[in-house]
Amino acid sequence: MKEVAHVIICESCDAVCERVPLREREIAHCPRCGIELDRHGGFQHALILPLTVASLIVFAIANLFPIVEIELRGLRSATTLAGAVIALAGDGRSLLALLVLATTLLLPLLHLLILLWLLVPLRWGRGRRALGFAPLVRAMQALRPWGMIDIFLIGVLVAIIKLSSMATVLPGPALWAFMALTVLLTMVIAFDPRRLWEMVDGVDDAAAGKQGEGEDHG
């Protein structure tokens, strides 16, 4: 088995295409089916770690504070994301509660933590691969479609409008945090986990050039 570095196989139609070096903002499309083949990595390599850390911080704020508060004839009621999930589970809809918990909290958090775990050794550990690199990159790719914080934000806005006719609705701190988190996470999720293999390969190639130095770390 020999690696063929200069071709890309289209994920959508299996056409074999030549890999051309892309310039900034360029996207290559498959000539046969028109689906995206490859895109320029941009500044993602440099930005992804700061973005991950920022997302984690905003993530904490978004989940610790109430999202909205309603006031109805002097009576107040507020909820956090976890609070809403617990209320749902209390209603006997635990399966649905689990789905919501997973798509808005557990899976995005897992995605961010895996990224952090993989990126930190790449950055400060002389390009060392973190423990479990391959399975974790694969897990991250599987997680990508299931994080739904952006949709959740739209859901919050729809709920607020729905309630505004019957009660006074006060946006909580977590609402702003969710807005920021949506922007941040969109950028984080746009980072293709496959780039991690390129990042590791780049380091490996550089290390192969100066083999002597790497010996004492083995």
């Binding site: 071709v7 892309l22 749902l88 949709i151 496959r194």
Partner: protein
């Protein structure tokens, strides 16, 4: 004449290579790793990718069977998802049950046309569109049809992009349930319909994930497609050598 290199179209700036280039490779046995996109020559079916260790298969395993299973289950659940109440509101004035569509109608009557449109598209049209489109894709792939293949590739891509958005209504209900629980005054609880609805969203997502778009290209080539311009991948035999 040798095989020509496929042209790479760039959205940002058209950059095409118009001169025929020498064949890229002599062998037709190329396998691409689904996970890390590395391309290998001479790999056998099921062999692990040397870069990331994922077993490489030409097509997703049991793709059509799995897609059918998810799709049929989703179709069955689509009915209760739209007919049963998703939300039950108890106030001092009585109890009110809402289905997905009655929520849309409520928005429309109260003048929030934009919101009514968003919820209608995300909760009603998108799931229906996904079910119909996936049915068509699976059926055509199964018959190895070569009808409008590039449009089908784009359709599949669209389904993948749209799929998650149907969860909107689930989140709205969950928030209302969490928020509106003022004892004796107003209380909202989740209906059975929303559970079925959430299941439909998850099942259609699983169906689109288990469908392999490459299956659409396994049939005979179109007459008007310049098949010899593009090299078939791991599956096809070489056209000329």
């Amino acid at each position: 004449m040798g095989l020509t290199t496929p042209l790479l179209a760039n959205r940002a700036k058209a950059r095409t290579m118009d001169s025929p280039v020498a064949p890229l490779f002599e062998s037709d046995r190329l396998s691409g790793c689904r996970h890390c996109a590395a391309v290998w020559e001479g790999a056998i079916e099921g062999q692990a990718c040397a870069r990331c260790g994922t077993p490489m298969t030409a097509r997703k395993t049991d793709s059509l069977n799995r897609t059918w299973a998810y799709l049929i289950t989703a179709c069955v659940l689509y009915l209760p998802a739209n007919l049963l109440p998703v939300m039950v509101t108890r106030t001092l004035f009585g109890t009110q049950s809402d289905t997905i569509l009655s929520g849309v109608i409520y928005f429309w009557i109260s003048g929030a046309y934009g919101l009514a449109a968003i919820v209608f598209v995300a909760s009603f049209l998108v799931p229906l569109f996904k079910l119909v489109a996936l049915f068509m894709l699976v059926l055509l792939a199964q018959r190895r049809s070569n009808w409008r293949r590039s449009e089908r590739a784009r359709l599949y891509h669209l389904i993948e992009l749209l799929g998650r958005w149907s969860m909107l209504d689930v989140f709205v209900v969950v928030l209302l349930v969490g928020l509106v629980r003022i004892q004796g005054f107003a209380e909202i609880s989740a209906g059975v319909g929303i559970v079925a609805f959430g299941a439909v969203v998850v099942l259609t997502m699983l169906a689109s994930l288990s469908f392999d778009p490459k299956l659409s290209w396994d049939g005979p080539a179109d007459a008007d497609e310049h098949e010899h311009d593009i090299m078939p991948g791991a599956s096809g035999p070489p056209k000329e050598t």
